[in-house]
């Protein structure tokens, strides 16, 4: 597998949300608006790249039996660093995303990539994998957020195009499942034809 395939697999073939169905807790929780989804996706991407990098660097120094706790400590540290830095230097962004940042720790996709990819591959491949997967995740969250925002609030990127409320169910958790279900169906159909 060359590096380009390695990078693009996160978008369609192995998209973390639409295909692997990993990290659904933050996915369903934050995607009430497109911009929330995008912010969460990018923050996750940063953590994913950094944790892939570090895990790949020290993969030979960690005994197999304690690899999971070690990975979790590394991931949790990066998440806390992101949280503190955001809080200090971009308070406005923290306002919007602050609630969801700690959720990155419990995102399976980060641990999943560390365990399934970074601990078996070299540094460059791992970083590219993190970038690709992270972008795929951000893209999926943005899409889901946009669909829910359009249907649920009648707005796109906080710009209202209808008066009053939209279909409120799409802002709530059940709407997240419904929208995600349809998006997965569409993705599967698209993959079949190509």
């Amino acid at each position: 597998m060359n590096q380009l395939q390695n990078f693009t697999k996160g978008f369609i073939k192995d998209n973390p949300v639409f295909v692997l169905l990993l990290g659904l807790c933050p996915t369903l929780g934050v995607t009430t608006t497109a911009i929330n989804g995008l912010g969460m996706g990018l923050a996750t991407m940063f953590v994913l790249v950094m944790s892939n990098l570090v895990v790949s660097l020290i993969k030979n120094l960690i005994p197999d039996k304690v690899r999971i706790p070690s990975f979790i400590v590394i991931i949790a540290s990066f998440v806390t660093i992101v949280e503190l830095t955001m809080q200090a230097y971009t308070p406005a962004l923290f306002e919007a995303l602050g609630l969801f940042i700690p959720l990155i720790v419990v995102n399976c996709i980060v641990l999943g990539r560390a365990e399934a990819f970074a601990s078996k591959n070299n540094i460059i491949s791992s970083v590219i994998d993190g970038l690709g997967m992270g972008l795929g995740f951000a893209f999926a969250l943005f899409l889901l957020g946009a669909v829910r925002e359009i249907l649920g609030s009648g707005a796109i990127l906080s710009m209202k195009f209808i008066q009053g409320d939209g279909m409120l169910v799409f802002v709530l958790a059940p709407g997240a499942f419904i929208a995600l279900g349809y998006l997965i169906a569409i993705m599967n159909r698209l993959k079949k034809t190509t």
Partner: protein, 191 residues
């Protein structure tokens, strides 16, 4: 380099080193960001005070423990040229949909609500977060109302407040926080 064997000593050592490095890194980041975070929080409080009160040139700050509350309210008594123009009260409620909500309420000397600002909340994005002025103008209905005649309860409970659609609990919480601030303000006034 070959993979390390999972012997007891190796495992303990690895975990120790990993956690120690993580702790060091976090400690470093914390001490660097501590000051900017404090400044950002202070700026937010100051901004909220100036939003909820008319123009002022001096502020007097004190804390009061409300009846039946677990945390104290902060009063910011504002004056202009020695004359009282209003009081900003940092109040809270534990009746939010998901955790505590902090609100800044500005009352003029007669106890009429001048303006409100949400400082911190964990309400549902897209629903309960409409209590925040950045999301909707719902909370403007409180402005210019005197809680002695304006019942701080949602219409469902026989009050005068129109609840946020699909977020009655958050609306109740907001009312509760404002009511708490007003009650303590009244007590202060009578003293």
């Amino acid at each position: 380099m070959a993979k390390k064997e999972s012997s007891f000593v190796n495992m303990v050592l690895t975990l120790f080193v990993v956690t120690a490095v993580a702790a060091l890194a976090l400690g470093g980041v914390y001490s660097v960001t501590k000051e900017p975070i404090a400044i950002a929080k202070l700026m937010k409080t100051e901004k909220a005070i100036s939003e909820v009160l008319p123009e002022f040139d001096n502020i007097q700050e004190y804390k009061i423990l409300p009846e039946g509350g677990s945390d104290s309210l902060t009063f910011f008594k504002a004056t202009k040229n020695g004359e009282e123009v209003g009081t900003a009260i940092k109040t809270y409620t534990d009746r939010g949909f998901s955790g505590r909500v902090w609100i800044m309420v500005g009352l003029n000397p007669e106890g009429v609500i001048n303006n409100t600002a949400v400082l911190e909340h964990k309400e549902t994005p897209g629903l309960g977060d409409k209590m925040d002025k950045a999301k909707s103008d719902w909370s403007n209905q409180f402005n210019g109302k005197n809680p002695t005649e304006f019942k701080l309860k949602v219409t469902k409970n026989g009050g005068d407040v129109d609840a946020i659609t699909a977020a009655t609990i958050s609306s109740r919480a907001f009312c509760d926080a404002v009511q708490r601030a007003y009650n303590e303000f009244e007590k202060q006034d009578k003293r």
